[in-house]
């Protein structure tokens, strides 16, 4: 228990853990705040501009246009909804992301547990391959994966074809393994002596202790498929199956010219695409900390 509890503590509880000693604080600290807050504004501005731009009746690129005036409208949202099937695209994004999450949670946890806690032949090899996957990026395999999924298996324009290459997120498996590894061995030995099977140990002993890790990994896994563009773009030609990132990108490069306020419509689409990921992240941001992921990274 103590292992996970100490891990879930946010950085905020140990603010003085590192950094120069008190003597040199004061002026330097003020400078840190100034730099950090100015940087934060620079980072957030495009998001603010996305929302404001999506609410303006006519595109206004002057500096004054960045200040909300009285004339705000939801018209752009209606525009983009008319041009593309917004709801259908969102459903496709949801199926794509849901499929990946399901695969990662079910098979990823089983694999993470086996890699951390069970001794079986081939464990070392599997672990090495898992690490290798992190270095060889997916984009470099697009041609053979395209050949296999679209040409050999005939899975073009299917949700399955979209999900398959992402079905189990290796980073999540790695995070699961790290967390199972940090639980004390006595816990498992005791449960085994009591005659519990491995599946039962995993379900009722190990899993409840790694709930925070589960959330972190789910969050990390979510942003992958939800934001992915290249693969669903390649595998779906049928607009009825395209997730929102692809629908929006196609709208941006093809038909934007026809809307009354093309930028407004594009930005409205961008807000709809960004909102779910940003909302989830803000809601669970305390799980997205250095200490939680750090234990995975430091391995």
């Amino acid at each position: 228990m103590t292992a996970t509890e100490s891990m879930t503590r946010t950085e905020a509880t140990r603010p003085e853990a590192v950094g120069p000693s008190r003597g040199s604080r004061g002026l330097g600290s003020v400078a840190s705040y100034v730099v950090l807050f100015l940087g934060a504004l620079l980072f957030l501005f495009p998001f603010y501009y996305m929302v404001i731009g999506s609410l303006q009746r006519e595109a206004d690129t002057t500096v004054a246009g960045a200040v909300p005036s009285g004339d705000l409208t939801l018209n752009n949202y209606a525009q983009i909804n008319q041009r593309v099937d917004l709801l259908g695209s969102l459903v496709n994004s949801g199926i794509f992301t849901g499929g990946v999450l399901l695969g990662t949670v079910v098979f990823g946890i089983l694999a993470g547990y086996a890699l951390a806690r069970l001794h079986f032949r081939g464990r070392g090899t599997l672990f090495a391959v898992m690490l290798l996957v992190q270095i060889v990026p997916f984009q470099l395999l697009i041609i053979p994966i395209y050949v296999l999924i679209v040409r050999s298996y005939g899975l073009a324009d299917t949700h399955l074809g979209m999900i398959l290459p992402f079905a189990i997120n290796s980073t999540a498996v790695f995070v699961f393994r790290q967390f199972f590894l940090q639980l004390p061995e006595d816990l498992f030995a005791a449960a085994r002596i009591d005659g519990a099977g491995e599946l039962r140990i995993l379900w009722s002993v190990a899993l409840p202790l790694v709930k925070p890790a589960l959330l972190t990994a789910v969050l990390l896994t979510f942003i992958g498929p939800w934001n992915e563009f290249l693969w669903p773009f390649l595998v779906t030609k049928d607009t009825e199956l395209q997730p929102l990132a692809v629908t929006l990108a196609n709208y941006m490069s093809n038909v934007a010219g026809r809307a009354a306020n093309p930028y407004g419509a594009i930005l409205a689409g961008a807000v709809v695409l960004a909102a779910p990921a940003v909302a989830l992240f803000v809601a669970f941001q305390k799980h997205f900390t250095a200490s939680e992921l750090g234990s995975g990274v430091k391995g």
Partner: protein, 315 residues
Amino acid sequence: MTSVATTTGPGRPDTGRPGPRRPRWARLLGRQPLGILFAAPYAVFLVTVFAYPLFLAVWISFHDYFFAAPGAQVERPFVGFDNYAAVLSDPEVRQSFVNVAVFLVINVRLTVVLALVLATALNSVVHGRTFLRVSYYVPYVTASVALVAVWLFLFGQNGMVNEVLGPLAPNPSWLVNSTLAMPVIAIFVTWKQLGFFILLYLAALQGISKELYDAAAVDGASRWRSFLSVTVPGVRPATVLVVILATITGANLFTEPYLLTNGGGPDGASSSPVFVMYQKGIEQGNPDVASAIGVILVICVLLVSLVNKRLLERE
């Protein structure tokens, strides 16, 4: 760890390990063969979407490969290094590799410096941490496609950036300027990914002991001095990781040239190897040439990563 099971096999002297001899299955499958069952789906997944495609990529690049209807029997003769020769003599491909080199020079340096400085600053403040963390991480969790939409608006011909700059605005404008298009993409990606790298540095900073800073302070080191001589060497392993991951991200560049500069424009000045792979492999139906680009790209990424790792660890 798997070797544990073999140490008490028959015919060997007992190593003093308590408990009965291991049965034959345990020597063959490991102490908990159930693990094989647990890990099987993931292992199958890795073979089908990673190991086999990796092999296939190399195989395709050495053959005259073209798309055929599923199930059709076609001849795909071995052509040696022909595809590689075609790739290396293609000015479009060379241009895309030069572009990604420009991208990496800007992006990797900017990423390392900004992420380390911001992580150090974040680590030293007490108030407003949640707000600051969320601000820096939020571009990382947002889709490139959504963010590109805003940048198109900001950096367009009549966009707000040019409005602010007035007569200083570059001509031709940012995204259609062959000198500026790639740097704009490099800055976009730095901004988008920085939160993740700040996170890595924050984790690394927790590992530096406070005594080192105290010792530096006793020696009269300034804040800047202790940053250079305690923090920078202290996070060196993380820097190696950041450089390697940023290089991989850069090698993967596709969405930004495709959307932000309208297909690697102007005139290929911002095309990337993955974008050229897409054009040649899927649009023009030459997967063999595209696979050769992919293999060359992987080799380049490995070489660049190795060189960077050596350089960073020697310093």
